[in-house]
Amino acid sequence: MIEVEDLYFTYPSGVEALRGITLTIRDGEFVAIMGQNGAGKTTLVKHFNGLLKPTKGSVKIDGVDTTKASVAELARKVGFVFQNPDHQLFCETVEDEISFALKNFGFDEDAIKDRVDWALNLLDLTRYRNISPFMLSGGERKRVALASVLAWDPKILILDEPTIGQDYEQKERLRNFIVQLNAQGKTVIIVTHDIEFVAECKPRVILMAEGRVIADGDPHEILTNPNLVSKASLILPETTRILLGLRGMEQSGRLARVIDVYEAGRILTAMLRDQG
């Protein structure tokens, strides 16, 4: 469980990036943190594994204050996949890359081998096992980075901008993958601008603007609220926009909270059928 209590953070340069954030993320939750550029999303999630320590207030992971634990200790529980895989890949082979963290955490030889096999298989990377990560495409490098974090099976998984630069098929796979991990009981936190992606996954949504949380809760409520969404420099999901634009539909309560295509399709078909 992640407990954030009245968190303030100011960078050494004087930028006040977080201004009083209070929230709780329970075990097994699936959360999307959204908001405009510079809203403080990355700054917030960097507090979850202790990379940044609060200027004021507190962050607790399973009851342990992050100021009382090292990043390495916290990272064992909280896996963090950075936006750009080029910021972490450095080994000669994909296999070494994945075992790097396992060695740091002191797993023994056999366990390392098992987990590397498992992670390679999970992300469909087995055939690249002995290839240099630098030879892979951007999307593949991203998967290697993800595998290298999943390998130690952290209880909480944080993904910063996971969909950037991914084609439609990869996004679909990523979505299924995240949903599956979450179904297995992992806490998953994604930071993203991709409102369509969120509309399809339907996680709990936390909207941020200027270092504060401006909305927190059900995606159906938040992503269909034009005021909130524009405060976060986003636009409504396309489906919602179309439905809002349909004259005479506004009063139809069922449609006012729809965010994804399949749901809209189902309701519209039913309505058309009713009308004869």
Binding site: A72, Q88, F90, N104, W152
Partner: protein, 264 residues
């Protein structure tokens, strides 16, 4: 990273910012020469304090403080090694402990004076101006461009290094673990991505430049041309006066030590 922080230029306007970079460079050289001329505490302290008005006028107090703090570790090392070597060298007979302390402090302040003047220079001079100054001093444009680009990318690289350190820490890397050799090795996972990314970036930069017709016309003209203003000439004169004065004092006047002054 902290030492670089002090050298990060911010675009604002002040009498110091607007000065010709060549003049400012002359000033730095003069201060450098003066700092090397003296090895007593009193004149070095004077040099240190005398530059403070410039910092205030330029409005870069905070940045300057930061670069001083960043270099404080070096200052402490300089002080400690001077103390130790002076003490051992003299076998305790070089002089009294206060005079050893004073000499070590002098060496430390010599270093701080240099940091101070370089900070003033880099904090108030944009990389573009610097490139222009080089170019107008007859350095070939290719070299000027390489130089300004290198300077411009220092903060970018510092930021990137921090991100890489964070990313590797998140994978359980502990930089401060183990003996000396182990600690150096700990930096491999940071250095390799940094290097690879810089090379990749420079190749991209080269491509972007080629596609914007780099070097298409052999004779370039500049949108901005540096021109000396009245204040620049004043600064040149001031710098030269400092130089002459420093040389004169060094040659003809005996400087009392602060310890003597205090105990007299």
């Amino acid at each position: 990273m902290n030492m670089f922080d002090g050298f990060r230029f911010r675009r604002v306007s002040s009498p110091i910012h607007d000065m010709d970079p060549r003049v400012k460079f002359l000033y730095v050289l003069v201060i450098f020469a003066a700092a090397v001329l003296f090895d007593q505490l009193l004149p070095l302290l004077v040099l240190f304090v005398a530059q403070m008005p410039l910092i205030l006028v330029a409005g870069v107090k905070r940045e300057c403080m930061r670069s001083m703090r960043g270099s404080s570790l070096f200052a402490v090392i300089i002080f400690a090694t001077n103390m130790l070597s002076l003490y051992l060298y003299s076998g305790g007979g070089y002089g009294s402990i206060p005079s050893i302390i004073e000499r070590s402090l002098a060496m430390t302040f010599r270093f701080m004076v240099l940091v101070e003047s370089f900070s003033i220079f880099f904090l108030t001079t944009s990389p573009d101006h610097l490139g222009l100054a080089l170019e107008q001093s007859g350095v070939p444009f290719d070299l000027c461009f390489a130089f300004t680009t290198a300077i411009r990318f220092v903060p970018v690289m510092a930021e990137e290094a921090q991100t890489i350190i964070d990313a590797q820490k998140a994978r359980g890397l502990e930089l401060e673990r183990g003996n000396f050799i182990r600690r150096v090795k700990n930096y491999v996972p940071v250095l390799i991505p940094l290097l690879v990314n810089s090379i990749r970036r420079s190749l991209e930069l080269a491509e972007a430049m080629e596609s914007r017709a780099w070097g298409a016309s052999p004779k370039r003209t500049n949108l901005y041309v540096l021109k000396m203003k009245r204040s620049d000439y004043y600064m040149i004169i001031t710098s030269l006066i400092i130089l002459v004065l420093a040389a004169y004092i060094r040659l003809y006047i005996s400087i009392p030590s602060i310890y003597e002054l205090l105990s007299a």
